[in-house]
Symmetry: C2
Subunit: 351 residues, 2 copies
């Protein structure tokens, strides 16, 4: 469950981003550049040391998957839509850039607070704010990023947009709490796991898609289907991240396997494996998994049950649902292709 926060895992699970960028064309690339520049401006607007911490968080990067969703759902794809069709509406792009920036800032804020709660020293191979500045600086930096996210979106003047972000932000907080409440529990059901994925991951994906529809050039009626699409790929994304935490390989994810087991996060692979392996169900993870080597051993055991394939299958089911949510929408060909590629990209295909 922690892997969705990390860069290497993100790299892994969005390996298909290059084709998405190709499908989105120069319009998408340009908007992503503007989002990156805006993120830099926002965090640089603070003096030391907050600006420095926030800049470090920004520089740690990530694939900016959420901004990609905002832009695509805002209709930002060159192919299939003649440039002339954009014409007078170009000014709207400022709203899209702000929305994408806001969503990424909120995501960054939760990463910084998660690192405090996890007492994490590294993220994406770089020292965390928690490590560099301590818990006070990290809590304050997270709060600052939260604030800037809303300020960025407020400039759009769209109350619906601020509400969408706020709702996602509330969901994140509730999901975080749910995750900790369920730590090490042997009784977490797949349904409860999925409810947690929705709160902690999918609602922000959905909000990004909704913001794109609200502030971009898509039909306003597209907001609900696009948000449904975003929610489904958010869940698929999280399931796949949780699979990667068990499956590795470490060379690809950039971290040892089993970090979720070590911090007690009960994910779908473990839940499914417990159903197949009674001894695993009976194992008290809190007592027995206390170092990385033990965690890797349990990962092997989970994999041995075949639970990883079942979890991947579940993720792919959400990918299919995401695409189906778009079925009745009229979308330019290039845009639909890009959205399908994103959906495929969050869950790499396995033979």
């Amino acid at each position: 469950m922690s892997a969705h926060r990390g860069g290497p895992a993100v790299d892994g699970s969005v390996a298909q981003l290059a084709p998405v960028l190709e499908a989105g064309g120069p319009v998408l690339t340009d908007l992503l550049d503007r989002c990156e520049a805006r993120l830099g401006e926002v965090v640089a607007a603070y003096g030391e040391p907050l600006g420095e911490f926030a800049t470090g968080t920004l520089a740690a990067g990530g694939k900016r998957l959420r901004p990609v969703l905002v832009f695509l759902c805002g209709g930002a794809a060159s192919s299939g839509a003649p440039d002339a069709a954009r014409g007078a509406e170009l000014g709207d792009d400022d709203g899209l850039v702000r929305a994408a920036t806001a969503v990424e800032l909120l995501h960054m804020a939760t990463l910084v607070h998660d690192d405090v709660l996890d007492r994490a020293a590294l993220r994406r191979g770089r020292p965390t704010v928690y490590r560099t500045g301590g818990r006070v600086a990290a809590t304050a930096t997270g709060d600052l990023l939260f604030s800037r996210a809303f300020a960025e979106l407020a400039a759009s003047g769209e109350a619906d947009a601020v509400r969408a972000l706020s709702s996602a932000s509330s969901a994140l907080a509730r999901g975080e709490l749910m995750q900790r409440a369920d730590a090490w529990s042997p009784h977490v059901t797949p349904e409860r796991y999925l409810a947690r994925c929705e709160l902690k991951t999918a609602r922000l994906f959905a909000a990004g898609c909704r913001l794109g529809a609200l502030l971009g050039r898509t039909n306003a009626a597209a907001a609900d289907p696009l948000a449904a699409y975003g929610e489904r790929i958010g869940i698929a994304f999280q399931i796949f991240d949780d699979v990667l935490d068990v499956a590795g390989p470490a060379a690809r994810t950039g971290k040892r396997r089993g970090t979720d087991l070590l911090d007690g996060t009960v994910t779908l692979p473990l839940i499914l494996a417990r159903r197949r392996d009674g001894d695993l169900q009976a194992l008290d993870l809190r007592e027995t998994v206390t170092d990385p080597a033990q965690a890797e051993a349990v990962c092997d055991r989970i994999a041995y049950t075949g639970a990883l394939g079942e979890a991947r299958h579940e993720a792919l089911r959400y990918v299919a649902e995401a695409k189906a949510a778009l079925a009745d929408l009229e979308l330019p060909d290039g845009l639909r292709r890009a959205l399908d590629l994103v959906a495929d990209g969050v869950v790499e295909r396995y033979a």
Copy 2:
């Protein structure tokens, strides 16, 4: 510096609230009731356990000074303005109630996070969320309250309003960090102390006043002077709280004297006392003040220098500036009287 967070200190420093309520009349009382009801609705909208934590934070109360400021700056005072003048504009009050609710939610969010950072078990005589639910629950509850604050304000549809709240929220985070950076420092100047008060306390007061002006029935041109008024009383409020932390008496403030000394917060009384007492300047507080009895002894020593009177004088200077900021505004008599009473109330008068 912590006292501004506590109820008893708030009780002490807003002892003049009764006359304010009288001056505001039934219009103000009615709006405060609606704000209280709305706060209850917002936090009750969450399931267990977040809703429970948030409800506990809400029930811990406080004088709702910030909502009072929102309402008064929104023109909500009965006397001096005939009821007929409100007529068709009554609908606007929803915006004011939302703004007041948002400001109080943001204030509550910072209290909950502060308690995590302070590892505080009690606030206003009740167990904190940190104590009851642990740091994860408290961090998430604070994040949730942050989110709800912005959602509440977003419903107003005023981008300027969301920006004002976001700006105050950013300032709070920066002020928090500044306070911790300066902990136990012998080099904090009065100027730096005042800059911290502005960030950590006064900017939210100012935002409340600005929101009232933006969403209420006052002239839009009044927003800047009203915000200036709010900022000045915010600084006065903080100085006076810091005086109370040294002066007590505990029977009135509800806590032992010297809590700021124990957590290393360098406040104006200490800064001024150090200038008057070279031995105090040379004292390493981190080394020598490690229990409440030692803290009380240093409080006595600060009081002995006469620094408390000087600090109170400084606070009163800000009260006078607050009133002066309103001098050129055309305000109904009842409203001006209420605003003056709030200003006087944040710093009790001393002979």
